[in-house]
Amino acid sequence: MNFLRSVDLFCRVIDNFGDVGVCWRLARQLAVEENLQVRLYLDDLASLYRIVPEPDQSVQLVKWGDDLVYTESADLVIEAFACDLPDQVIEAMKERDRPPVWIDLEYLTAEDWALSCHAIPSVHPSTGLQKTLFFPGFVEKSGGLLRENDLVLRRDSFQSDVLAQNKWRKAHNLPEFDENFIDLSFFSYKTAPIEVFFNELSEYSRDIRVFYPVLDGFGVEKRGQLTIYRVPFFSQSDYDYLLWTCDANFVRGEDSFVRAGFAAKPMIWNIYVQENDAHLVKMRAFLDLYRAAFLPKVWEGLAESFYLWNLEGEIKKGFWKSFLDNLPVLTQGARLWADGICSQDALVTKLLEWGKNNNILIKKDKL
């Protein structure tokens, strides 16, 4: 049995900010909420600083480069997204009197096969160490979702306080809350049919404001009923407030998608495109779960929105009108979805509980 005091988390940034965003959240939760010593090994610290400009000192950040020196393994070693640990890390793990718990944290998916492969301790063929693939997911049997202990409290407090929302908006050069406007946050890959969407919004019967975080080209653009606010990227923590203050959120990848689910607001997901349309299988599996939260009369349109946003099907003029018309009903469904996922144990809880149940991981301070 390992007494858990320390964690080493390894992450290679492939592209964008999703992987590093997930790893920072995980590292921070293990450090702050579980009081563990956490080292986060990143090959691209700049990507982290883009979404976490001033990381607090709870996590020790280590640049993972060719000159990495690693001599002593932590009690728990997490290899994020099959990033392949360097040989010297493996050697250090083998040299411990008690081998560390080695977790391969995988990408989030709602597919059934992931449940059947989740958290099965497996003897690694070349090292003899035990390695376990851990699959985050939306249901009890999965590895859960990364969620801070105080997230729901902070969200509810913020969403019920217009003054707080306006204060936050002002600090980020966004217009104040106004019930005459529909406010949308917007974060998508370039593959999404963005121009068609904006054109539709510009002809809608109500005024719409789109808050669009971009890396450059900031400014305000007016198109008919639509006003687009191109604003600087938000920090990871501020992005939550953006999701919470908008009427609906267009999100992409994994981390912002999960956070939009917690926001209890309608969302449209732009999924990361994969070969052989593997992403569509993954999206379909998610929609099969998401469906339960929504009334049948709005579900079909919402599901079609997901497909069209991911270039499956032909967008007919006026399509987005029904999405906007249905926002009040969709919001009820989004709340139900958020309540459901927030009622489950979060990923960190599940990870530590799994370790305890398998007699391989117990926090020293719980003895």
Binding site: F81, A82, D104, E106, Y107, T109, E111, W113, A114, S116, C117, I120, S122, V123, H124, P125, S126, G128, T132, L133, F135, I271, Y272, Q274, D277, A278, H279, L280, V281, K282, A285
Partner: protein, 185 residues
């Protein structure tokens, strides 16, 4: 050495110095996740069963054991009987051939693996052709192959097929990944 994706039901690998026969091998892949193999093993020394989940590029030391070409003959109680060209019969338990059951039909050619003279597992052909005995009606006009649906085989096993596949059609399946390959006219 073989990578996990090359390993099949019936292969024997060494893990932590123990010879393990693979009784079931499932391939899974989606989105950005690493493709993984889930194995069900039996330890040839102790007889104990275990499971393992591995990335498909994980390297395993495999043991080349004696094998023999056979065909499936019949079921006898809890045992499954296979026969070679000289009419020698080899009995294997349901557990021994768990990963093959979904494709098993009379006269199916297979390969039996022996360990210390005893049959321990069966490897099916790489590709098999099976009839679809049930699937939801075909989607008219969809020939893209992007939309998949479950199709039931005579064994009761379900495989994902493109939406245009209909009941009564024969399909080719890759037994290594349990994936649909093509329709067979």
């Amino acid at each position: 050495m073989k990578v996990a994706q090359e390993l099949r039901t019936g292969n024997v690998v060494v893990v932590d110095k123990a010879p393990l026969v693979i009784q079931k091998a499932d391939y899974n892949k989606s989105g950005r996740n690493a493709a993984v193999m889930k194995f069900k093993f039996r330890n040839l020394l102790t007889g104990t069963n275990s499971e393992g989940v591995y990335k498909t590029d994980e390297k395993f030391e495999d043991i080349v054991l004696e094998t023999k070409e056979v065909s499936y003959s019949y079921e006898s109680g809890d045992m499954y009987v296979f026969m070679d060209e000289e009419y020698n019969q080899y009995e294997l338990s349901k557990e021994d051939i768990e990963g093959v059951l979904k494709y098993l039909e009379e006269q199916m050619p297979c390969e039996v693996t022996f360990y210390e003279g005893k049959p321990i597992s069966v490897t099916p052909p790489v590709k098999v052709v099976r009839e679809v005995i049930y699937t939801e009606p075909a989607v008219r006009g969809d020939t893209s192959g992007k939309i998949m649906k479950p199709a039931r085989l005579p064994s009761g096993y379900e495989v994902q097929v493109p939406a245009f596949v209909e009941i009564g059609e024969k399909i080719e399946i890759d037994t290594r990944t349990d994936e649909y390959v093509s329709r067979v006219k």
